[in-house]
Subunit: 319 residues, 2 copies
């Protein structure tokens, strides 16, 4: 083991608290709480594709865990553990310090323990696996929406995409709007508490990572319904409201991706309690449309009820 | 979702059997058996570093799961689930067919269910996470070896490294020896059944992936002992016995890496039962030395008891 390798390891080794056995063993060992199922998810982020090679390491550390916690949120699971496999082109202490600071600040916020991982040399690639717990029978999933259910959205979508459009020179944001949009892109807030509280109340849920329309499409397909979404009702940030290009703004809102909000469905009888939950969590929860009979379609309609056509339906990880 | 993306997904989607919820959801959901702990491990394999860009995809699929199952074996865990995150430079149907065939043939051999993953475009990188079950209190780990314990090794080490030495032109193997060594390099056999059977019998265990001396060093450090290993006793394959360069042969044996055998310790009272277990599993189990009082040292000794110095102690993932 070289000093270099030892150095990297130092940044990612913290004592186990909940785990029976944590970092530095062939396997981590976890004792699942009684009556709980494990929810588990993995993501891979590649430099030059999911983030710029020179991306701020602290934001990257934060985001690489946050996007995974967002998957746990969509399952209604309590985050518990993470594993981090990372390929690094070389040893850059400042980078490692930044990345681990960002990663652990997100981890500590949600009581997530890093229990294992792997470090190797290679093109910068980050693969995080998260494990959460959810009471058996109470997990949220994509299947379960019924015709007549309301479609809901937490927070607002589109800002992360708008920051990228600014970066590509397709729109010019004010310094203030740009800062707000970059924060949404770089430091997403996984809706963990909302996911937990929706257990037993939402009929389906998903996290919005590929674009609202695409992700609602996943619910629609899994549930065997379609969605009618009211474009005018979609909540818009100040930056999106100020955007002079209405088509671009709608594209960001409905098909931008990288939002990490939750889209979910619930029976209309749940409206009062969901409104109350939004107030309690200080998180806007907006009824954006309705599940209808159908087979996986998502139709965005303007105020007159006319379908709106999007140039691009969603973010494609392989395009 | 592009047809390309759909195509890739097709290769990795199989129906869930044991899992509550499998591939194609935000999270997989798993119900751990009662009284069992979860053992979990993750590895990242990078093209050009852990394998050649043009490596046979079927062997690569096999090996990328096998090396992870080897970690479960070292914990004495029953393999149950896997997640696969993969970055691909492009869509190559023949490659995907080969990789998934190799991956699932290893998975089926050990009843492992692929329950989730992620696919993205990027430099070829494979990150597998495996989950197994082990009865609470019976897992194997690196800490637990005591002075006086025997050190054991399953199978034999060195062949995978010898294949690489042949590839680098430092030794010339016969066609038959090369084929045998390549098989060990490309199609490692994780010692899953041995790991399970050592529960409650071995005082410590590790899988030999970085080289025998280095991995025994990990046990030594974690257990607070040292090891005296008898170089002459280390089991040698026909290829290694035929190797004309004795120094190179010893280097491969003791510091080659990529072996995926188990090294473990047990009290001398266990000798008879461990010998019997080896016969039952048709897997040579060799007593290669002794744990002694010390602080993490591994000393290889020749027949006269003189310490043997290795040029390189083990494989370093970051060198």
């Amino acid at each position: 083991v070289t000093p270099e390798f030892e150095l990297i390891r130092r940044f990612f080794t913290r004592p186990a608290r909940k785990a029976v056995l944590g970092v530095g063993h062939d396997c981590a060992r976890l004792a699942p709480p009684e009556g709980m199922h494990c929810a588990i998810s993995t993501d891979m982020l590649v430099a030059g594709r999911h983030f710029a090679e020179d991306a701020d390491p602290q934001s990257l550390g934060w985001k690489s865990l946050a996007v995974n916690l967002s998957d746990l949120a969509a399952a209604g699971a309590d985050p518990a553990y993470a594993l981090l496999a990372i390929a690094l082109p070389g040893v850059d202490v400042a980078w490692l310090e930044g990345f681990s600071t960002g990663f652990f600040s997100m981890a500590e916020r949600y009581g997530v323990e890093l229990v294992g991982g792997d470090t190797t040399r290679g093109p910068l690639t980050i693969s995080v696996t998260v494990i959460g717990h959810v009471p058996a029978g109470l997990a949220l999933c994509r299947a379960g929406a019924r015709p007549g259910d309301d479609a809901w959205l937490s927070g607002q979508t589109g800002d992360a995409a708008l920051a990228l459009e600014h970066g590509a020179g397709r729109v010019q944001l004010s310094a203030q709007d740009l800062a707000a949009c970059r924060l949404r892109l770089d430091r997403p807030q996984p809706r963990v508490e909302l996911g937990r509280r929706l257990r037993g109340h939402a009929s389906s849920a998903i996290d919005v990572s590929d674009g609202l329309a695409a992700d609602l499409g996943h619910i629609a397909e899994a549930s065997g319904v379609s969605f009618d979404i009211a474009a005018d009702v979609l909540p818009r940030s100040a930056a999106l409201r100020a955007c002079p290009d209405a088509q671009l703004a709608l594209q960001c809102l409905a098909a931008g991706g990288d939002d990490y909000e939750l889209a979910f469905t619930a029976a209309p009888e749940r409206r009062t309690e969901i409104d109350a939950l939004g107030r309690e969590l200080d998180l806007p929860l907006t009824r954006i449309g309705t599940a209808v009979r159908g087979r996986g379609a998502v139709t965005l309609r303007d105020a007159a009820g006319t379908p709106v056509i999007l140039a691009r339906a969603g973010f494609d990880h392989f395009a």
